[in-house]
Amino acid sequence: PGTASLIQDIDKKHLVLLRDGRTLIGYLRSIDQFANLVLHQTVERIHVGKKYGDIPRGIFVVRGENVVLLGEIDLEKESDTPLQQVSIEEILEEQRVEQQAKQESEKLKVQALKERGLSVPRADTLDEY
């Protein structure tokens, strides 16, 4: 049977997407059989629209079950991106604004559903994904 292993990926820069939506970028230092990861010089990257901001986080130990996907970053192509990097404060502000907008639209949606007598999808019945 075919198998994928992270052993070849060690000591390379990776982008890791977590289940809670966070994006971490760091050097993959160590793994184990559950795909628990040790990321070194990790940076949490927040994307809002075309902008992104990096928050340096240091060393991360990620439990394998929380990883959605991860991929190696080509160091040469890394800078080759249409996205614009902004400062941390700015990106956090943008994120906050985005969250607010989302909440507003969600509220409207729920309102509309209620008016029509349809069931409102609740967080506990929804899967995380």
Binding site: T3, I7, D9, D11, D32, Q33
Partner: protein, 764 residues
């Protein structure tokens, strides 16, 4: 208080006999610069070594002062070990001399360790590789000498002197099960050199075992691990290799071994590894005692050549250039192992004899050079490697994960892949690879392009170990203690199935239950179908004697399937198609029928066909959403090819629902049939078959002929009547329909029919 194992000159005569270099000068150097020194700057260590080199060959000094050192130095065993190793290390030419010398030293040593050293030296003679001969004793020193040191003290002493690299306390070792030898199978790239491997591998495991078992049997004894395959063979061999107290020490041991292993590995550049593993592959099923040496070999082989092994493992067919790049870091990482390890090693090697240390460094240098030359000759990979080396060199945090740990993880992953029945466990993967191979074979036939070696992950087929697990029973206890575990789960809940016997069930419930029953039937039949489809493969794999039994089983299952389809325990006739209809209403049921049909006997298949035809409008209505009926067309056509005319006639009858007596002006049945893609196609097929039979076989009975003619007339009448727009588009139009219709209708109508049904070739 210095804790180095400054070698003691207990048996000086032996040394003088062999004329070794002076360790005393080195001793002094150690005192001055070495062990006690906190600063582990590699430069300083390097300078120290340089001094050593300079002083080599100078006269010996009396070792009086040396002998006066603390208790630690008064350890005869260590001294002896040091002596021995150095002896073997420095003069392989004098092997017989060494042997003599070592034999004389028999009494003071403990028995088990004796064996280890003797074994190693005995085997050394057989070893062809000079490197190994040198490396062996260094390793034996390490694992022999190290555990005797009070490890705690050493840790504390070292901690401040450790560099940036984090202290590997016990986490990788405790948290993980002890390193085990794993039968990892890979296709041997070269079938050659198994002997070489054997000899190489032998020495290491033997002496490792000796040391380990001697010291740490107890803690491991009670450990029960669920991973039977892995642990059962190993527990008897290795005590607990990594008890907490000596873990850091052993880490260094491992590193040293890796160092030695790295050298060997680099030379054949990965050729060895696959063959090693291939040998190890058949391991797991074998009985315990015989497994021991092999497992150890595998284990060591694992340590010795991980990168090459990985290349074999993970070189799956879709291995485009990007994945090539990771391979170089394999050996590159080995290099990296060497490079930072000197930095790590310096503080740790202070306990080693300086001479020893020097040799280690020498060997490292050698390896680096060799590897570079290998790189140059490595061909197209060389460029990649060197660039990667550059990158790796600049990364100070690289290789935090030791090769041993990587091996351990990959070993676990490989173990998970072992399967007793790959077709059962990983059906789609197997099929995928078969298809690929077929494609490759086809390509090869066409052109003689380069034969791509599809390195497939061949996992060993482990024989099914039948474990009848008996729950643990305690002796002398009153009553039976229920010990529940994974293999012996305890019954927690008494779940009783209460069948409904209420009469006042609502109609909906009944319907729902009935539907559920049907679904269950479908599922059961599907399982039977999968088994039956699998029989062919099993047939090929089985022995001659078993085959009749297999066939019998197969037949039985086919019958069961048919029974399931048609409903169990029918009367003489099959009065109701109800059961069958229920199945056919469900999408999966239709697909199931389509798959089963090839296996059924002709009568049974005809039966199914008839039932379908009889109820076709109903089915059509039900199929409106799913549109799965056309899948039945193919198997139906196969069945049709074998039908005699009589059957065909009745089939047409069914299709058109033409009872002999009445003939309503509009034949709804037929209309429905004609308006449905499947129906029309089926009708065409049937008609075509009939025509075929008629034209071929001229001796048909008159009776049937009449019936057939009648039917055909009616059919053509209907076809003409129906507006063209209402006609469905059939899946295929048999070519002999024109000739069919020409028998029964006149030219004008024939033309009409032709245009209507697009019977003429070219119009479509």
């Amino acid at each position: 208080q210095s804790l180095e194992d400054c070698p003691l000159d207990e048996d000086e005569d032996a040394f003088q006999a062999l004329g070794e270099e002076d360790e005393d000068i080195d001793q002094f150097n150690d005192d001055t610069f070495g062990a006690g020194a906190v600063d582990d700057d590699w430069q300083e260590a390097h300078e120290r070594l340089a001094e050593l080199e300079d002083k080599a060959g100078s006269s010996r000094e009396p070792d009086g002062p040396v002998g006066n050192d603390g208790d630690v130095l008064g350890d005869p065993e260590d001294a002896l070990a040091e002596r021995l190793t150095r002896l073997v290390v420095d003069s392989e030419l004098e092997d017989p001399a060494i042997m003599q010398a070592m034999h004389t030293r028999d009494p003071p040593q403990p028995g088990a360790l004796n064996s280890s050293i003797w074994d190693s030296s005995a085997v050394l003679r057989r070893i062809r590789g000079p490197l190994l001969a040198q490396e062996m004793p260094s390793v034996s020193v390490l694992d022999y000498a190290l555990p005797q040191r009070p490890p705690q003290a050493r840790d504390e002493e070292r901690d401040p002197s450790e560099r940036a690299l984090p202290r590997r306390s016990s986490s990788p070792i405790i948290g993980s099960p002890p390193v085990r030898a794993v039968p990892i199978g890979t296709p041997p790239k070269q079938a050659a050199i198994p002997n070489f491997n054997q000899q190489i591998l032998c020495p290491k495991p033997v002496h490792i075992r000796a040391t380990m078992q001697q010291r740490y049997p107890a803690p491991y004894g009670e450990r029960m691990s669920p991973n039977q395959l892995c642990n059962v063979p190993n527990s008897s061999l290795l005590g607990h290799p990594f008890p907490h107290s000596v873990s850091p020490v052993l880490t260094h041991l491992q590193r040293a071994q890796l160092l030695g292993g790295a050298q060997v590995k680099l030379l054949p550049a990965g050729r060895m590894s696959p063959s090693q593993f291939a040998r190890v592959s058949g391991l797991v099923g074998s009985p315990l005692p015989s497994v021991n040496p092999k497992l150890l070999q595998g284990r060591v082989g694992q340590m010795m050549s991980p990168a090459g092994g990985f290349r074999a493992f993970f070189g799956a067919p879709p291995a485009p250039p990007p994945s090539q790049l990771p391979h170089p870091p394999g050996p590159g990482s080995h290099l990296q192992n060497l490079r930072p390890q000197p930095q790590m090693f310096r503080p740790d090697t202070t306990h080693l004899h300086p001479q020893h240390r020097r040799l280690l460094h020498q060997r490292q240098q050698q390896n680096r050079n060799q590897h570079r030359s290998l790189n140059g000759s490595g061909g197209d990979r060389g460029g990649h490697r060197s660039s990667h080396q550059e990158q790796i060199r600049k990364d100070p945090y690289a290789n935090l994960m030791l090769q041993r740990e990587k091996d351990w993880v990959s070993k676990i992953q490989m173990m998970q892949l072992q399967s007793t029945d790959p077709y059962l466990d990983d059906y789609y993967y197997q099929n995928y690879f078969q298809k690929l191979e077929k494609l490759a074979a086809a390509e090869e036939v066409h052109g003689d392009g380069p034969k791509k070696e599809r390195t497939k992950l061949i996992t060993p087929q482990v024989a099914k170990l039948e474990h009848t697990y008996k729950p643990v029973q305690f002796e002398g206890s009153l009553g039976k203690l229920t010990v529940s575990s994974v293999n012996n789960p305890r019954k927690m809940i008494d779940a009783v199935v209460t069948s409904r016997s209420e009469d006042d069930e609502t109609k909906e419930k009944q319907v729902r239950d009935k539907r559920r029953q049907t679904l269950v039937t479908i599922e059961k039949t599907y399982s039977l179908l999968l088994d039956v489809e699998d029989y062919e493969r099993r047939y090929l794999l089985s022995l001659e004697g078993e085959r009749p039994a297999l066939m019998g089983e197969r037949k039985q299952k086919i019958c069961d399937m048919y029974d399931n389809l048609r409903g169990k325990a029918p009367g003489q006739d099959r009065p109701s198609d109800d059961h069958f209809m229920q199945i056919m209403c469900i999408r999966k049921g239709k697909r199931l029928v389509a798959r089963i049909l090839p296996f059924l006997a002709p009568e049974q298949a005809t039966d199914v066909l008839m039932a379908t035809a009889r109820n076709l409008p109903f089915l059509i209505k039900k199929d409106a959403q799913d549109e799965v009926l056309p899948c039945l067309l193919r198997p139906f056509s196969h069945v049709l090819y074998h039908l005699p005319l009589g059957t065909v006639t009745s089939l047409v009858q069914q299709l058109m629902n033409l009872p002999q007596s009445a003939a309503s002006p509009t034949n709804l049945h037929l209309t429905a049939v004609l308006q449905n893609k499947f129906g029309l196609s089926l009708l065409y097929l049937v008609l075509s078959r009939g025509e075929e039979l008629q034209s071929s076989d001229t001796n048909t009975e008159l009776m049937q002929d009449n019936q057939w003619t009648e039917l055909m007339l009616m059919a053509t009448r209907e076809l003409l009547r129906i507006p063209q727009g209402a006609l469905a588009k059939p899946m295929s139009i048999p070519s002999n329909l024109i000739s069919l219709f020409s028998r029964y209708v006149d030219q004008q109508k024939l033309n009409l029919l032709e245009t209507k049904l697009h019977l003429v070739q070219g119009i479509r």
